[in-house]
Symmetry: C2
Subunit: 332 residues, 2 copies
């Protein structure tokens, strides 16, 4: 493998000059620069990122900790993060915690050891005291963490309102909000608050709330709990599920009870992941601007590394995507 | 942040001794080791992975290139890879190529620059000449690449056979194989070969083949093509789809045509990802041992880094998981 020395010899320049070209330091003539680039290309020289990072004491990697990526929301998120990181010339160091606190703390230590440029935390269970003075910025994604340097979230409250308005528009009067995420995560609670508040503003609307307990977000299996839920609330005519995965499973549970969607029960999901278009009928849902949220996270880390100012909290808009699960006769 | 020097001072030892403890080099008494560990803990010392990697000229990172992770198969795969890597004390550097050759080659270069311990390639479009003499092992996942140091795959041919046998067992006589993956990927072709060969061994079985063209695997949208497919073959009574995502979309297409599954048409998918349990009815499918496949990839890289022998090709068994989409009256 070619070294810096080989490149210098090939270009007929000193090692110091080649290093200055590589690191963009001091004045370099265009001719010298082209000369070096030609030599690098000819020898297929790859700069050693590890050595360069060490001299900068900061790598070009961004650490991301997620609880899972089997869940389609997180797989969409990581795909968007990777794309945004790549555009800003960062590489992504991926950590999947399975929601385990010990593992998350271990991953934070791995980020310290690897001298990452920044950490994006998409889980809420790390003890926040561990996030102080890490030497790189921490961005909390869809989590409120006092110790994080910045937070990026979507407007979950507005999402809940939009879901309620859609079901009421369709003529539903007996509403149910199903939430499936445990206490470590705040978004589902805020969605419910928005939903309940919007319902309270309308007369003659009955609202119920059911929370699927889940040991870990990674399970993706709610069917038996949703079955119990439908035993408890057999008369609902409109359901807001706090994720598309729950909404999709609910379709199966309702079908096994002979209930038709959208004729007997209307459903609004949340996230707008591919699952919402895969079901029969496809799901009306609240679209989260995941790509924009991911880009914002990466941009905050880039700005921090360049000592630019960045926003401490960014809340991005959501919108309703209407599909088959809330179709009415008037919509035809 | 504490340095090696601080740890040495705290422990009352030389920097050289502390370094030997950290790198597990030479003889160290148990007392000295505990002394160093105590000092490291007290000062919250984090060894600088970058510096250590540089001295070894090899990092503790494994690069993985996938075409997408929005597809549930790849998200399950990456989750399994991360878990297996973590168990062997590697970190995962994730690259998502969107199936673009230029980007894949760029990612291979990023792996070289970062001095990864190994690369797992889950896409087939990198020009294989670029994979020679990288200085670290390349493992091809579900791809046949002559230039890779090792290959890990599931028994796709056997999977095709199992799918055919299941449909024939259910009494289907007019079979269709739907494949959705383009020319860059070989697994779907081998599945079809197994399927067709098994059908040929039975008398009175008619088999058709339909290939969804897809610009990129990332799209996950097959509905309009599946609709055309059903126009072409309206009389099929059994379908083998080369992924659960295609099988799930087919359920919607058949439902819109008034065809019932499993009464009128039986379906077998492939992969056994969570989508197969989310649909109504849930999908009979061929289970891929993704966790075992991921573990095998990581293990090959660990062995290579320790100069141990490793298998050049590993083919893992698949099995049929029977669910609602092939249920018959006898199964009740």
């Amino acid at each position: 493998m070619a070294t810096l020395k080989d490149v210098a010899r090939e270009a007929g320049l000193s090692v110091g000059t080649v290093s200055r070209v590589l690191n963009n330091r001091g004045y370099i003539s265009e001719e010298t620069r082209q000369n070096v680039n030609r030599a690098m290309k000819k020898l297929n020289y790859q700069p050693n990122e590890m050595a360069r990072s060490l001299s900068k004491q900061r790598s070009s990697m961004i650490g991301v900790i997620v609880p899972t990526i089997s869940h389609p929301y997180f797989s969409k998120l990581i795909e968007s993060m990777e794309r945004a990181a790549h555009q800003e010339e960062y590489d992504l160091l991926l950590f999947v915690s399975q929601g385990r606190v010990d593992r998350e703390e271990e991953y934070v230590r791995a980020c310290i050891s690897n001298r990452v440029a920044g950490l994006i935390l998409c889980t809420g269970s790390v003890r926040t005291a561990r996030l102080k003075n890490l030497g790189f910025p921490v961005v909390a994604y869809e989590r409120l963490l006092n110790e994080a340097d910045a937070g990026v979230e979507c407007d979950n409250y507005e999402g809940g309102i939009l879901a309620a308005q859609e079901l009421i528009r369709c003529g539903c009067r007996n509403l149910l909000c199903i939430s499936g995420i445990g206490e470590v995560s705040m978004p589902a609670d805020v969605r419910r608050d928005g939903f309940m508040d919007a319902c309270a503003r309308h007369e003659g609307i009955r609202t119920q709330f059911f929370c699927c307990s889940e040991e870990r977000i990674t399970d993706l299996r709610y069917k038996s709990q949703l079955d119990e839920c439908m035993d408890l609330y057999p008369d609902v005519d409109g359901v807001f599920a706090s994720s598309d995965v729950i909404a999709a499973e609910l379709l199966g549970v309702l079908s096994s009870r002979g209930k038709r969607v959208p004729e007997d029960v209307k459903i609004v999901g949340y996230d707008d992941v591919f699952v919402s278009e895969l079901t029969t009928p496809d799901l009306t849902t609240i679209h989260q601007p995941v790509q924009e949220m991911a880009r914002t996270c990466i941009d905050i880390i880039r700005r921090a590394s360049e000592n630019e100012a960045f926003p401490a909290r960014t809340v991005l808009r959501v919108n309703l995507v209407r599909r088959g699960s809330t179709r009415t006769a008037q919509d035809e």
